[in-house]
C-alpha cells in the first residue's frame, strides 16, 4: 500500500460539461493530493463552480472520469459525494440559521436513542459532543444550544469546517468561504483550514481572489473559459502573477508547461 501516499486523493481527468450547446468545461484535468490545500482560482463564469459541482455530484460530467484514491468513481448525487468522504461548505448554504449549533453539527446524522421507528433525539449528548468536538479543533463556542443566526459569518464557516473535520471527511471543499468576511474572520477561517489539513484532510479552496487563499494554499489551479490555465506550486509563482493569470489567462513564459502548450 505504498502507493496510498503517492496516488492523488482526487483526480479528475478530461472533464467536459455541456449545458445544451454551451460548453462550460472543455476537458479539464484536476487533482488534489493528500493533505494538500489547493486554491481553485478563476474569474466569475470561468467554470470553477461547474467543476466543483461535478465533484460534489450536483452535475454529472458529459465526458471524463473521476478517480478517488486511485479508484474510478461515479458521483451522481451529493449523497454519493458525502459517502466517499467529500464535504462541501458553501458560503450561504453551510448551516441552517434558525437551528442550534448542535443540531446543525449533527444535521443528517443525529444521535438517537431507542429502537425502530421510536428513535428519539439525544439532545444532551449532541450538545455536549458538538461542543467538545469543536473545542478539540480549537473552536470555542459559548453554548451549543445557541441558534446559528446569532453567530458571525466567520464563526459559521468555522463550525461547518469543524463538522467536516469531526466526521472524518477526506476532502473539504470551501466555496468562496471568505468573500463576505472581515479580515479578522478570514484569518480565523484560514486557521481552521490549516488545522483541517493537519488532521489529514485535503482542501479545495475556491475563490476568485488570490489574496484570500495565498497564505494557506500549497498549490493553485487556475481555470479560465472552461479550460485549465495551469497548476502552480506556491513557490513557483508570485501572488501578482496568479492574479494576472486569473484575469487575462496569459501564462508567463517561464511557467509554460509542455502539456499546456500542446493544447
Amino acid at each position: 500500500m505504498n502507493d496510498k501516499a503517492t496516488t492523488p486523493l482526487v483526480e479528475m481527468k478530461g472533464i467536459v460539461k455541456q449545458f445544451g450547446t454551451v460548453e462550460a468545461l472543455r476537458g479539464v484535468d484536476f487533482r488534489v493530493d493528500r493533505q494538500e490545500i489547493v486554491g481553485l482560482l478563476g474569474d466569475n463564469g470561468a467554470g470553477k463552480s461547474t467543476l466543483i459541482k461535478i465533484l460534489t455530484g450536483m452535475h454529472t460530467p458529459t465526458r471524463g472520469q473521476i478517480y478517488f484514491e486511485g479508484k474510478p468513481v461515479f458521483i451522481n448525487s451529493p449523497h454519493d459525494a458525502r459517502d466517499i468522504g467529500i464535504e462541501t461548505v458553501y458560503q450561504d448554504l453551510a448551516l441552517v440559521p434558525l437551528m442550534s449549533i448542535a443540531r446543525n453539527f449533527w444535521l443528517g446524522q443525529e444521535l438517537t436513542r431507542g429502537f425502530g421507528p421510536f428513535k428519539t433525539l439525544n439532545h444532551k449528548a449532541m450538545a455536549e459532543q458538538a461542543r467538545e468536538a469543536l473545542l478539540d479543533i480549537g473552536i470555542r463556542i459559548r453554548n451549543a444550544e445557541e441558534a446559528v443566526a446569532m453567530m458571525s459569518g466567520g464563526e459559521r464557516q468555522s463550525i461547518a469546517i469543524g463538522r467536516a473535520v469531526y466526521f472524518g471527511k477526506k476532502l473539504l471543499i470551501l466555496d468562496e468561504p471568505t468573500s463576505a468576511l472581515s479580515v479578522k474572520q478570514t484569518g480565523e477561517v484560514l486557521n481552521y483550514t490549516r488545522r483541517a489539513k493537519e488532521r489529514g484532510m485535503s482542501v479545495i479552496f475556491i475563490t476568485h481572489n488570490i489574496a484570500h487563499v495565498h497564505e494557506v494554499a500549497d498549490r493553485f489551479t487556475i481555470i479560465r473559459g472552461g479550460r485549465k490555465i495551469g497548476d502552480f506550486y506556491k513557490h513557483e509563482v508570485t501572488e501578482m502573477e496568479v492574479a494576472q493569470m486569473v484575469m487575462s489567462g496569459a501564462v508567463p513564459d517561464r511557467l509554460k508547461l509542455p502539456d499546456v502548450v500542446e493544447e
Binding site: 451529493p78 449523497h79 448554504l93 441552517v96 440559521p97 444535521l107 443525529e110 433525539l121
Partner: protein, 690 residues
C-alpha cells in the same frame, strides 16, 4: 410610544455600545410604559379607596373586621407607590441613560438613582404585599371568598392558589431584596423573574374575581357618577395589554446565556411565547368582561367547535415549517369528508357502501393522494407552493361540486342507515391495555429512579454548588417528580381497573358507535365526573390534543422533525447534509392532507352532513392561526403547540365577542388586526434575536 422612541434616540447618542443600546432600548420602552401605567393606576386606586368610590369599600364592609386598617394601608401604599413610580418615570425620561440596577450592582452608582430606588422599592413592596396577602387569606380578613363566589368556581382552590403564589412571591421577593442589599449581581436576574412572576400573580388575582368591574359603576348611576371607575374600566384592559407587551419584551429581549436564565431562554426561544401571552391576555380580558366566559360550557364549546381547524392547523404548521404553503387544505378537507360520507352511504369509485372504518381509511388515503399531487406538482415544476396550491384549491373544489348535485346536502340520516358500530372483542381491548401497561411500566422503570435520583443529588450537593436557583430547582424538580409519579400511578390504576372490568365480561362483544368514537359527546370525565347536558365536550378534542402531542414530539424529538426544520430553514444546507428536500416536502404535504382527512372524519361524525362548499375559506383561518402561533412565513421556525394556541385564540375570541354582546360580524375585523399584530411582533422579535 412616541416618548419612548425619542428617548431611544437620546440613548443612541449616549455612552452605550450598539448591542447594549439595543438591549437597553427595548427594556427601556417596556419599563417606561409599565412605570407610567402603574403610577397612574396606584394613584387612582388610592383615591378611590379614600373616597369610597370603588366597591372595595362595600366589600370591605362585609368583612366587618379591621376595615379601616386595611383601607388605610392600601391607600398609603398606593400613594407612596404611585408617587414613586411617577418620580422614577420622570427621572428616566429626564436622564435616559440613567444608571440602572446593573450599574448599581457593578458598584458604579449609589442607591439613590431613580431606577435603582424603584427596583429596590418595588421588590420590598412586593415582598410586603405578598406577606399581607397570605395573611389576609389565611385569617379571612379579606372577603376573597365571597367575591370568588361570584365566579362560581371552587373557592378553596382559589384560596390555595393565592396562598401558594403568595408564599412563592414572598420567598422570591425576600430573597431578591437580600441580594439587592448585598449588592449581589444575581439580584438582577432575580428582579426580572420577580417582576414577571408578579405580573402573573396580578393576572391570577384578576382571574379569581378579586376585582369586579361591574360594581365600579354604582347601581342606578350613570357613567359620570364614577369617572375614576370608568377610567378603571379602560385602564384595566390597558394595563393587561401593556404588561403583556412588557413581559413579552422582557422575555424575548435577547437570549441571555447565563445559566440562571434558562427558563427565560427557553420561553424566548419558544415560537409560541407570543401566543401564550396573547391567550392569557384574552382569557383574562374576557373573563373580566363576561362572567359566562370561563364557564365550563363556554370553554367546552370553544374547544369542540375548533377540532376541525385545530387538526388541520397541525398539518399546515408542519408544512409551513418545512417552508411550503398549502392553500388547498379547505378543498381537501371538503373532498375527503364527502368521500367518507359517500363511501358509507352510496359508495364511491364504483364500490358498494362500506363499513365506517374502511370508509374512513379510504377517505384518508384519498386525502393523502391529493396531498401527494400537491407535493409532486411543487417539486416537479418548481412553482411556488402558493400558486400550485391555489390551483389545486380550485381543482379539488370541483370534486364535491361534481359529486353532489346542485345545492344538495348529503345527510347521513337521509339514508336511513343505522349509525355505524364497531364490534370488537374485549380481549382486543385487554391486549391494548396490557401493552399500554407494559409501556408505562417500562417508562416508569427507566424514568422514575432517574428523576428522584436527580432530586436526591440536588439535595446532597446543595452546599457544594453555587448555582443561583438551586433551591428553587430542588423544589420544582421534586414537585415535577411527584406529579409524574402520581400521573403514572393514576394511569396504572386506570389500566388495572379497566382490565379487571373487561375480564368480568369477556363473553360479550363490545360495541361502540364509530361517530361517538371519532367525535361524539363526552358524557363524563375521570376527575370532573358526569358532565351536565349543556356542556358539549367532544371526543374530537381528545384526538386533536393527542395529535398535537404526537406531532410536537415528532417535530422536536425525532430526526424527521429536525429535517423539517432544516428544509424550511435552509434547503441548500439540508441538501448538502444529505437530507432529501423533496422527500421531506412531499411527506409533509401528504401528512397535511391526511390530517385534513382526519378533520373531515371528525366533522362528519359530529355534524352528519356534507355540502359542496364544506371547508371553503378554511385555509386562511388555519394559516392565520399557525402564524399567530409563531410560525414564520418563510419556514424553518414554529411549533405545533403554537398552532394549537393560535386556534384557541381564535376560538376563544369568537366565543368571547359573542358573550360580550359584540356583533359576530366584527370577528373578521378583529381577526385581521390580530394577524397583522402577530406577524409584526414575530418579525420584530426575530430581528432582535438574529
Amino acid at each position: 410610544m412616541a416618548n419612548a422612541s425619542s428617548s431611544a434616540d437620546m440613548l443612541a447618542s449616549g455612552q452605550y455600545s450598539p448591542e447594549r443600546k439595543l438591549l437597553r432600548n427595548s427594556k427601556f420602552t417596556a419599563t417606561i410604559i409599565l412605570l407610567v401605567v402603574t403610577g397612574l393606576l396606584s394613584l387612582l386606586f388610592s383615591e378611590q379607596i379614600l373616597t369610597g368610590w370603588l366597591a372595595f369599600g362595600e366589600r370591605a364592609n362585609i368583612s366587618r373586621r379591621e376595615l379601616n386598617l386595611i383601607e388605610l394601608l392600601l391607600a398609603a401604599g398606593g400613594i407612596v407607590w404611585g408617587l414613586l413610580s411617577l418620580y422614577t418615570a420622570w427621572g428616566f425620561l429626564r436622564h435616559p441613560a440613567t444608571p440602572s440596577m446593573e450599574d448599581y450592582l457593578g458598584g458604579r452608582v449609589s442607591l439613590r438613582s431613580p431606577g435603582v430606588l424603584f427596583t429596590t422599592a418595588l421588590i420590598g413592596l412586593l415582598f410586603a404585599v405578598s406577606i399581607f396577602l397570605i395573611e389576609q387569606v389565611l385569617t379571612g380578613w379579606l372577603p376573597l371568598g365571597e367575591r370568588a363566589n361570584i365566579s362560581r368556581r371552587d373557592i378553596n382552590t382559589i384560596e390555595w392558589v393565592v396562598v401558594g403564589l403568595g408564599v412563592l412571591g414572598a420567598l422570591l421577593n425576600g430573597r431578591t431584596l437580600i441580594f439587592l442589599l448585598r449588592r449581589d449581581r444575581r439580584a438582577w436576574a432575580w428582579a426580572q423573574w420577580v417582576s414577571l412572576l408578579t405580573v402573573l400573580l396580578m393576572m391570577m388575582a384578576l382571574f379569581s374575581g378579586g376585582i369586579d368591574i361591574y360594581s365600579v359603576v354604582p347601581p342606578g348611576g350613570t357613567a359620570l357618577d364614577n369617572i375614576p371607575g370608568v377610567l378603571e374600566l379602560v385602564a384595566l384592559p390597558l394595563i393587561l395589554v401593556l404588561s403583556a407587551i412588557s413581559t413579552y419584551r422582557y422575555l424575548t429581549l435577547a437570549v441571555d446565556l447565563s445559566a440562571d436564565q434558562s427558563i427565560r431562554n427557553r420561553l424566548a426561544k419558544s415560537p409560541g411565547a407570543g401566543a401564550i401571552i396573547g391567550l392569557a391576555a384574552l382569557l383574562i380580558g374576557f373573563s373580566l368582561a363576561s362572567s359566562l366566559f370561563l364557564e365550563p360550557r363556554a370553554i367546552a364549546s370553544a374547544l369542540s367547535t375548533n377540532v376541525t381547524n385545530g387538526i388541520v392547523a397541525i398539518g399546515i404548521t408542519l408544512l409551513m415549517i418545512s417552508g411550503e404553503f398549502d392553500l388547498s387544505v379547505g378543498s381537501i378537507f371538503g373532498a375527503s369528508a364527502l368521500i367518507f360520507i359517500l363511501a358509507m352511504t352510496e359508495g364511491v369509485f364504483g364500490l358498494p357502501p362500506m363499513n365506517a372504518v374502511i370508509a374512513a381509511l379510504l377517505s384518508l388515503v384519498f386525502a393523502g393522494f391529493l396531498g401527494f399531487i400537491n407535493g409532486v406538482l411543487l417539486i416537479r415544476t418548481g412553482i411556488p407552493s402558493f400558486i400550485v396550491t391555489l390551483g389545486t384549491l380550485l381543482a379539488y373544489r370541483a370534486i364535491p361540486l361534481v359529486l353532489i348535485p346542485e345545492g344538495r346536502i348529503i345527510r347521513y340520516a337521509d339514508y336511513g342507515i343505522p349509525d355505524p358500530f364497531i364490534d370488537f372483542s374485549p380481549f382486543l381491548l385487554i391486549a391494548l391495555l396490557v401493552m399500554g401497561g407494559l409501556a408505562l411500566a417500562y417508562y416508569a422503570i427507566r424514568q422514575l429512579p432517574t428523576m428522584w435520583g436527580g432530586v436526591r443529588r440536588r439535595i446532597v450537593t446543595y452546599r457544594e454548588t453555587t448555582a443561583p436557583f438551586r433551591d428553587v430547582a430542588i423544589v420544582t424538580s421534586a414537585l415535577w417528580s411527584a406529579v409524574v409519579t402520581a400521573a403514572i400511578a393514576g394511569l396504572a390504576l386506570f389500566i388495572f381497573s379497566g382490565i379487571a372490568d373487561l375480564l368480568s365480561r369477556t363473553d360479550e362483544m363490545l360495541r361502540i358507535s364509530f361517530f361517538d368514537l371519532a367525535n361524539g359527546r363526552i358524557e363524563s370525565l375521570p376527575i370532573f365526573g358526569r358532565l351536565t347536558a349543556d356542556i358539549n365536550l367532544r371526543t374530537g378534542v381528545f384526538w386533536w390534543f393527542l395529535l398535537v402531542i404526537v406531532f410536537q414530539f415528532i417535530l422536536t424529538q425525532m430526526r424527521y422533525g429536525g429535517f423539517t426544520f432544516a428544509v424550511g430553514g435552509n434547503a441548500g444546507a439540508a441538501r448538502a447534509q444529505g437530507i432529501s428536500v423533496s422527500r421531506v416536502k412531499i411527506t409533509n404535504f401528504i401528512i397535511c392532507a391526511v390530517l385534513c382527512g382526519v378533520a373531515g372524519i371528525t366533522f362528519v361524525s359530529r355534524v352528519g352532513s356534507v355540502n359542496a362548499n364544506l371547508g371553503d375559506g378554511l385555509e386562511l383561518e388555519v394559516i392565520a392561526a399557525s402564524v399567530i402561533g409563531g410560525v414564520l412565513l418563510t419556514g424553518g421556525y414554529g411549533s405545533i403547540v403554537g398552532a394549537l394556541l393560535g386556534v384557541l385564540i381564535f376560538g376563544l375570541l369568537r366565543t368571547g365577542l359573542v358573550l360580550v354582546g359584540m356583533d359576530p360580524r366584527v370577528f373578521f375585523g378583529v381577526q385581521g388586526i390580530i394577524i397583522i399584530v402577530a406577524v409584526v411582533i414575530n418579525t420584530a422579535v426575530r430581528r432582535v434575536r438574529t
